[in-house]
Structures are given as structure tokens and as C-alpha cells.
């Protein structure tokens, strides 16, 4: 089985978010970038398929040279090889189109994306990729097993979960549950050393096409200060929740 894991290179949640160029661009100055958490669950599941079922795992990112450190980290976690498509992502579709090209030429059986990336919170790349390639598609995937070309997948639904049967080729929008938090791997020294010798191929982009563009960013208005109560004036709290906040 050939697996492709799509990796988004995103600011760590603890980063301060700032913008430059008249609030038109994200300011990456001093920002720590990580593998998008949803993708990390997918990557770990892919490495499990590699170890248990002999799968070959390629990781791919659409982005500039600055994302290579993130791809190396994915190699250190256990992927066999990496691809960087040399393009600056402009919207979900522009990324999905580049990925569709990789999926078609590489003949991948299973493509695992994260259901959403933590920077733009678009949640659209996996679905668009499925639409562009015609593969089967499971989103919000929290469980995945493959037997030959038969697939059993579990997806989160509002208020529960649904078990699905389908077949390869398959695109997955994954999240926590594909593996549990405790199964995530921190790259060890050996992994980091071997990652240096693994192939990281840079491919040129196939045209560029976007349907949407960011005009600018805005910061939320500053919050008004918290109103404090004590155990002795909970009546006032209840009345504030009713009269002021109107939530009870």
C-alpha cells in the first residue's frame, strides 16, 4: 500500500499571531512552526500501517523552502520519503490542485490529510482533493483499518460516531482518534539522524489556480474585563447571566 500524508506547516498554537504589510500578510517573525496537529495523528497512523502492514509512507507539503524542517520532522517520525511542491499556497483549492497532481502521478492508494489546518481553519483541502481525484472520501475520520483494498473507517458525527465500509483508493480527513494522543511520537535521535539521509524531493508547481484570496486580516476587538463574583454573591451572578448576558 502506498500512502501519502499531506502535511500542513502551521504556527504552534501558543504563538502570538501578528500581521504585516498593512494587515495583508501573516507575520512569521519569531513564530514556531509545527506539523498541523490533525496531520500528526494521520502521520502516526500511516507509520503504524508501515510497521504493521508494510506500507510505504510519503509525506508532502505544498509550500516554500521554509517548510522543509517540518517535512524532516515527519521523516524523523517515520515517513519513508518526502515531497515539497514548490508553491506558495493561496487558498484551499490551489493546494488541492497541486496535491491532486501528486496523487495521480504517484499512484497512491491511501491519502491521509488532517480534517482542518490550524492556521486558516479552512477544512477544505481533503474534500477538494477527493472531488478532484474521484477517490472515496471519509472526513473527520477517527478510526481506520485496511485489509487488501477493503476499508473500515469510523467518522465523528455530531453526538456520536458512524462506522463506514469502503475501498481504496481513499482520501481521509483525519483527526485525533486515528491514533490516540499517547501514541504520537516524538522523534528520537536515531529517527532524526536517518531522516537526514531520506529523500526530500522538490517538485515544481503545476500552474496556479485560486478561487479566493485573503484581502486582509483583523484582530478581534479587545475583550472587556471579566466580572468577578464570590461564593457569597452567586445570586448576583445568576442575575447577570439572566439580565445582562441573557444566556439563562
Amino acid at each position: 500500500m502506498k500512502i501519502l500524508v499531506c502535511i500542513s506547516h502551521v504556527p504552534d498554537t501558543t504563538s502570538k499571531i501578528n500581521f504585516t504589510n498593512g494587515d495583508a500578510d501573516f507575520d512569521s517573525n519569531g513564530v514556531q512552526f509545527v506539523i498541523n496537529p490533525n496531520d500528526e495523528f494521520g502521520l502516526t497512523r500511516a507509520v503504524w500501517f508501515q510497521e504493521q502492514q508494510g506500507a510505504n509512507v510519503t509525506v508532502v507539503n505544498v509550500g516554500g523552502p521554509e517548510t522543509e524542517a517540518t517535512l524532516r520532522k515527519a521523516l524523523a517520525i517515520g515517513a519513508n520519503e518526502a515531497i515539497r511542491v514548490n508553491a506558495t499556497p493561496t487558498d484551499g483549492l490551489s493546494v488541492a490542485k497541486q496535491l491532486a497532481e501528486i496523487v495521480k502521478t504517484g499512484g497512491y492508494d491511501l491519502v491521509i490529510c488532517g480534517k482542518e489546518s490550524l492556521d486558516y481553519n479552512g477544512g477544505m483541502v481533503p474534500g477538494m482533493l477527493a472531488a478532484l481525484t474521484g477517490a472515496n472520501f471519509v472526513n473527520s475520520c477517527i478510526g481506520l483499518t485496511v485489509d487488501g483494498t477493503n476499508v473500515k473507517a469510523t467518522r465523528e458525527i455530531d453526538g456520536g460516531k458512524e462506522t463506514l465500509s469502503t475501498s481504496l483508493p481513499l482520501i481521509v480527513g483525519g483527526q485525533k482518534g486515528l491514533v490516540e494522543e499517547k501514541d504520537l511520537r516524538i522523534p528520537n535521535m536515531r529517527g532524526i539522524m536517518t531522516a537526514r539521509t531520506k529523500a526530500l524531493q522538490v517538485l515544481e508547481a503545476v500552474g496556479s489556480e485560486a478561487n479566493t484570496k485573503t484581502v486582509k486580516f483583523e484582530k478581534p476587538a479587545p475583550k472587556s474585563a471579566v466580572k468577578m463574583f464570590t461564593v457569597d454573591n452567586l445570586d448576583e451572578l445568576v442575575s447577570a447571566l439572566h439580565n445582562e448576558a441573557k444566556v439563562i
Binding site: 501558543t14 499571531i17 480534517k115 490550524l118 477538494m128 467518522r155 456520536g160 447571566l241 444566556v247 439563562i248
Partner: protein
């Protein structure tokens, strides 16, 4: 030219988001000088949509669509949009709608903006405001295509009544066998239990509650408030509560009217997932807990003392105001 909304239902009954989306669609349609058409799949009482300004309902009834299937449903929405000559398709942000939205967008060659908050910033050029960076910023997005798809962020607009008389039309889109290469085997859902996705109030407990044996505190407060229960990540990692209750960056997102956090420190990864909630009430023993910085209301003190008292006060209040 009408705007198309996909009015979601479950077991034949409209979800609340269907009414929110209709309310939103009505307002956008007014500003564009057009009407609202809703497409429904196996919904029973479609006339309910008349309360919220829908002008026409395309009613799809088909046993093959009795279980949700993203590709097939996306295909239905696409065909409805083409039939109506729609330029703007509106979807909600339930798990199912988030699943099908990108498929609809590619199918219609449409630009798609998800997580949209508020009415369009401008209709020409077409610009919308959306949540990004886990609510730490907004992103003004311009959609350049002729046909556009918007996903409205959860609980971001509200439900507004606006009487109309919707005409009803049976609609039988053609279904593609290949879409059914994916089959529902089973659905595991606790019947009758209020879910985090549907609840208007969520009561959430953290490690400050010391152990699973103390969750009665959370459950009682939740039941007094008519709320769903949730927890922080360590609480589910420790097995005190099921994973389905884990909220935050790596857990479920919460966008309720009221979020009550008990014994949760307010780590940034936790806040990232719950910040879309409108009002936050934080109960924590530590006056320096970071959660107070993003809270609207706070009580400093021992949860074991505060929560039972608060629960009584809420019950009293509800009894007097019933």
C-alpha cells in the same frame, strides 16, 4: 438566481442550524435583491422553513439517501443549484455539512469560504469575514468566481423569524452509483442525550475536579442549566471521562451561548477550541488562572463549595421564572 441553502435535517426533523441558515440566507438575499430556495433531503415538515423567510423548497425524498452520504448529498445540492441558476450556496458547519461543502464547491467550480461570521463585508467585490487562527484573528476573504459557496460558522448569526409562504416542489436529482461506494455500517449515538454540537450551554470540567467520582457536580450543574457536559484533554486522557467529551484544539470545538469551565486552567490549546462560545463563566481556585483573561464572568474559589451552591441558585431561578 435565487440563493440556495441546504436545510439539514436528522430523522426527518430540521436541525436548529437549518433555521439559522435560513435566517442568514434571508438577510443576504434581501441585500442582493433576490429570494431564498432551500433544498431538503427526506425532511418531513418543510413548511416550517416558511417561518424563516424561505421562498421555495426543493424537496428531495429518496430512500437511497436515508443515511448521510457526502458525495451523494453534495451531488443533490449541486443539481439543485444548477436547476435554480444559483450564484450563492449557503451551508452550515455541522460535521455533515463540513464534509460535503468542498465537494459542492468543486462540483460547481465555485470559490468556497468556510467558517464565515456575519453578513458579507461587501457584495461587489464579494468579501466575507471568517474565523482563522483558532479565533485569534479574522480573515477577510474575497471570492472571485461566478458561483460561490459559504459555510456559516456555528452559532454565529442566530435564528430570526420572518414569515414567508414557501412554495414546495418535489425534486428528483439523478444519483450516481459511484457515490455509494461508501456504506454506513452502523451509527453509535446515545439517544436523547444532548450533544456538545447541539447544546446551547456546555458545562466542562478539568483536572481541578480531582477525580471521576466528583463528576456528579458537573452533571448536576449541567442538568440544572439544560447543558451538555464536556471536559479538558487531561481529563479524557486520564480516562475520567469519555474521549467524546474532550473539547479544545485537539478535541471537539464548542460554539455555545454559555460555556462554564470548572477547574480548568485555560491553557491556550483549550481556549482555541471553546473561544467561539459567546459567554464564558470560569470557576477556579487560582485567581491567576489564565482562563480568567478570556472569561466574561468568574468565581474564584473551591469548586466543591461553589458548584453545588450555584446549582441550587440556578434551580431556584429556573423554578421562579418557569
Amino acid at each position: 438566481m435565487s440563493i440556495l441553502i441546504y436545510a439539514e435535517s436528522s430523522e426527518g426533523k430540521f436541525k436548529k442550524v437549518a433555521f439559522e441558515l435560513a435566517s442568514y440566507g434571508k438577510k443576504v438575499a434581501e441585500s442582493l435583491g433576490t429570494t431564498v430556495t432551500a433544498v431538503t433531503v427526506n425532511a418531513a415538515n418543510v413548511s416550517e422553513l416558511s417561518k424563516y423567510g424561505v421562498d421555495k423548497v426543493l424537496k428531495v425524498t429518496n430512500d437511497k439517501l436515508s443515511a448521510f452520504n457526502a458525495k451523494a448529498y453534495a451531488d443533490v445540492i449541486k443539481q439543485a443549484a444548477q436547476k435554480e441558476g444559483t450564484k450563492l450556496v449557503l451551508l452550515s458547519s455541522t460535521t455533515d455539512s463540513l464534509y460535503l461543502a468542498p465537494l459542492v464547491a468543486v462540483g460547481l467550480n465555485a470559490g468556497y469560504a468556510s467558517n464565515v461570521v456575519g453578513l458579507p463585508v461587501s457584495t461587489s467585490p464579494f468579501q466575507v469575514k471568517r474565523n482563522a487562527f483558532s479565533m485569534k484573528a479574522f480573515n477577510i476573504t474575497e471570492i472571485a468566481t461566478d458561483v460561490k459557496v459559504l459555510g456559516l460558522a456555528k452559532n454565529s448569526y442566530g435564528v430570526f423569524e420572518s414569515a414567508s409562504s414557501a412554495s414546495e416542489e418535489d425534486f428528483a436529482p439523478s444519483l450516481n452509483d459511484a457515490d455509494f461506494n461508501i456504506k454506513t455500517e452502523s451509527i453509535d449515538k446515545t439517544a436523547g442525550k444532548l450533544t456538545i454540537a447541539d447544546a446551547e450551554v456546555v458545562v466542562s470540567g478539568g483536572r481541578g475536579l480531582k477525580g471521576p467520582e466528583n463528576w456528579g457536580l458537573i452533571e448536576n450543574l449541567a442538568s440544572a442549566l439544560g447543558a451538555a457536559t464536556a471536559c479538558s484533554k487531561p481529563v479524557s486522557d486520564l480516562g475520567w471521562r469519555p474521549h467524546s467529551e474532550h473539547v479544545g484544539q485537539t478535541g471537539k470545538p464548542v460554539a455555545t451561548n454559555l460555556y462554564v469551565a470548572v477547574g480548568i486552567s485555560g491553557a491556550i490549546q483549550h481556549i482555541a477550541g471553546i473561544n467561539a462560545s459567546k459567554v464564558k463563566l470560569v470557576i477556579n481556585a487560582d485567581p491567576e488562572a489564565p482562563f480568567f483573561k478570556v472569561a466574561d464572568y468568574g468565581v474564584v474559589g473551591d469548586a466543591f463549595e461553589i458548584v453545588p451552591k450555584l446549582t441550587e441558585k440556578i434551580k431556584e431561578f429556573k423554578a421562579n421564572n418557569a
